[in-house]
């Protein structure tokens, strides 16, 4: 386990080392430079390893590190929400893992998260047990494997689900990043794409554009599939007693353990592409984990909708919050969806009409396209709207391009926000937001009738609103 830092630092210093090698060979005394180049990272890595230590004292976990800049990070054990075991390829060769502790400090940034790098796999799983259960467990590696086997496998990745990858936005994101890197290195290395204008002219401009678009599309699809496989290969969701274990990754493997008591709900993501392909994804709303740590809360990667529904029913202990019909929001909410989509679309269309009149008739189709897009969005956003209160869960759905259905246990609602603009108040609508300490920190029910909003909030958390309600005499509070 001594090796991991030096090896990783060597990799990080590789460009510098190459430079030193080149430089060293052109002058005398190259050996000394090389020694320095290899030695410094190794010494730094050793120093980091030797100065990092951790301990679990009465109810707290502490990590101390640093030779010159010392720092101590500590957290109470009962604030430990998740434990992540990550192993990069180097770690895996050496049989090591990095253990990360999610403590749910909303203010803490990634830098300050408790992390222990270079633990052996056995030590890490033992430590995980202690962190999550607060007791010293005498489990050996074999016992851990046995417990895992005794657990109930809820979901394993089916390689056919890769077909959903091109329908997620991750492909576009990876392609964008890759394009940036390629453009950057092409620029620094002064490789400029040479375009043979003659052959381009022979092909024709239209064919060239079509070919280019197809090429881009294909690249995005391939990158999306590769990205999907890299993160989700060998995905397994396992339930042991009161815990959920997620394992995934092709080269870098990642194991996350969530405490069932901290899972306050689920969020089903159905962005338009996935919805079109009949898929969805599922993540847990974990008390104390916000969306910056959302990698820790994935329960189902993009997969068929039926799988997502099955797993969420198992996580919530009831299928109703996910499958039951939602209460719609009425004609006023319908009208509001339409005005909100059509006013901007109408503005664009008007601009396009003016441009069509003044500049070129080529702008005219743009006007029609803007109106059509607005109408499609309005209709889809309207169809998404819905809420319900079933089996102790507040369920809300909204959105079109990024549609989400969220089910939050009412015991995890830690407050209500009711927001209404003057337009909304005029027609008696309001947004109802249930705030919570996990996931996106809120579950939003959009454009609800004011009375229905009060009713929903009062039914979800009966004692909280009671004092602030106006009640006509004689009518009992439900």
């Amino acid at each position: 386990m001594l090796l991991v830092h030096p090896v990783r630092d060597l990799v990080r210093f590789l460009p510098a080392l190459v430079g030193i090698l080149v430089f060293g060979q052109s002058s005398d005394g190259g050996g000394r430079w090389l020694l320095l180049g290899v030695g410094v990272p190794v010494v730094l890595g050793l120093a980091r390893y030797l100065t990092t230590s951790y301990r679990i004292t009465t109810g707290r976990v502490e990590v101390r590190q640093g030779l010159l800049n010392k720092r101590v990070l500590s957290a109470p054990l009962d604030r430990v929400r998740t434990v992540d075991l990550t192993a990069s390829p180097i770690h895996r060769v050496l049989g090591l893992v990095t253990l990360r502790i999610g403590t749910g400090q909303s203010s803490g940034n990634g830098e300050e998260r408790l992390a222990l790098d270079g633990l052996t796999a056995t030590a890490a799983s033992g430590l995980r047990e202690r962190l999550l259960h607060g007791h010293v467990s005498q489990l050996t590696n074999r016992d851990v494997a046995a417990t895992a086997a005794a657990g109930h496998v809820v979901l394993t990745l089916d390689l056919r689900w890769v077909r959903f990858a091109p329908f997620t936005s991750s492909g576009v994101a990876i392609a964008g990043a890759a394009l940036g890197v390629v453009a950057q290195s092409a620029h620094t290395l002064e490789i400029l794409p040479s375009v043979d204008l003659d052959s381009a002219a022979r092909l024709g401009a239209v064919a060239l554009v079509v070919l280019g678009l197809l090429g881009v599309l294909l690249t995005i699809c391939v990158l999306a599939v590769v990205g999907y496989l890299l993160t989700n290969f060998d995905f397994q969701l396992l339930r042991t007693g009161t815990e959920w274990h997620v394992r995934r990754g092709l080269f870098t493997t990642r194991e996350t353990t969530l405490d069932q008591a901290r899972v306050s709900g689920v969020s089903i993501g159905e962005p338009w592409g996935l919805r079109f392909a009949g898929g969805a994804r599922l993540s847990a709303i974990v008390t104390g984990l916000d969306r910056r740590q959302r990698g820790s809360s994935v329960l189902v990667p993009p997969a068929p909708r039926a799988e997502v529904e099955r797993v969420s029913a198992e996580v919530l202990g009831s299928a109703a919050p996910v499958t039951s019909r939602l209460v719609g929001h009425g004609p006023r909410a319908h009208r509001r969806r339409w005005t909100r989509a059509m006013v901007p679309a109408g503005g664009v269309a008007l601009g396009a009409l003016v441009a069509g009149y003044a500049v070129s008739w080529w702008f005219l189709p743009l006007a029609a396209a803007a109106l059509a897009l607005g109408a499609v969005l309005a209709h889809d956003r309207w169809r998404a709207l819905g809420h319900a209160l079933v089996d102790g869960h507040l369920v809300a759905r909204s959105g079109s391009l990024d549609r989400r259905r969220e089910a939050l246990h009412t015991a995890s609602v830690i407050g209500w926000n009711l927001r209404a603009t003057w337009f909304q108040r005029r027609v008696g609508l309001t947004h109802l937001v249930a705030t919570t300490a996990g996931g996106r920190q809120q579950v939003r029910v959009l454009d609800l009738d004011e009375a229905a909003a009060t009713d929903l909030a009062a039914s979800a958390t009966p004692r909280l609103l009671e004092e602030f309600l106006t009640r006509p005499p004689g009518r009992p509070l439900r």
Partner: protein
């Protein structure tokens, strides 16, 4: 048909001096734009605005600075009970927030420069959700300090880790 159950507004208003504070902050917010309009039109000669445009700008600014604070004063309200805090704020968009005492994590007392000119303070109550902080602007300073004391006392007496 019987009237449905509704959420009533919170009972207590903020200090009436808060209107003057909001007027000052709103005025200050418009200073950069106004400076650019006046200087650009006059000494710097960037553009040449017709008199009616300047007049319209003045009218809009005046209306904003005079009316919006009044509107805010009508909307801004708060209430604290043994079990919950309830606030209402905003003007165009009205936001009502309710948090139970058992979920209160921190209680802040702040006095900005302009608020201090008027002897006012802001009380901010945070919960474990970053979307759920309650803010009461424009409270009388003494009232705010008393409120902070009460809030801390009640929130401390409720067990649990507030998540």
């Amino acid at each position: 048909m019987s009237q449905p159950v509704r959420l009533r507004p919170p009972l207590e208003r903020v200090a009436s001096r808060a209107r003057w504070m909001w007027m000052c902050t709103d005025l200050l917010r418009w200073v950069p734009v106004t400076a650019v309009v006046l200087l650009g039109n006059g000494p710097w000669g960037w553009f040449d605005l017709p008199t009616w445009a300047l007049a319209a700008y003045a009218v809009v600014l005046l209306a904003y600075v005079v009316l919006v604070p009044q509107w805010r004063y009508v909307v801004h309200r708060w209430e604290m009970t043994e079990s919950a805090v309830y606030t209402q704020a905003g003007w165009w968009a009205r936001e009502r927030r309710i948090a139970p005492m058992s979920r209160v994590q921190t209680v802040d007392h702040r006095e900005g420069v302009i608020a201090r000119l008027f002897g006012l303070a802001t009380v901010r109550i945070t919960t474990a959700s970053s979307a759920g902080a309650l803010t009461i602007e424009g409270l009388d300073r003494e009232r705010a300090l008393a409120l902070v004391d009460d809030l801390t006392r009640i929130a401390d007496s409720v067990p649990g880790d507030a998540t």
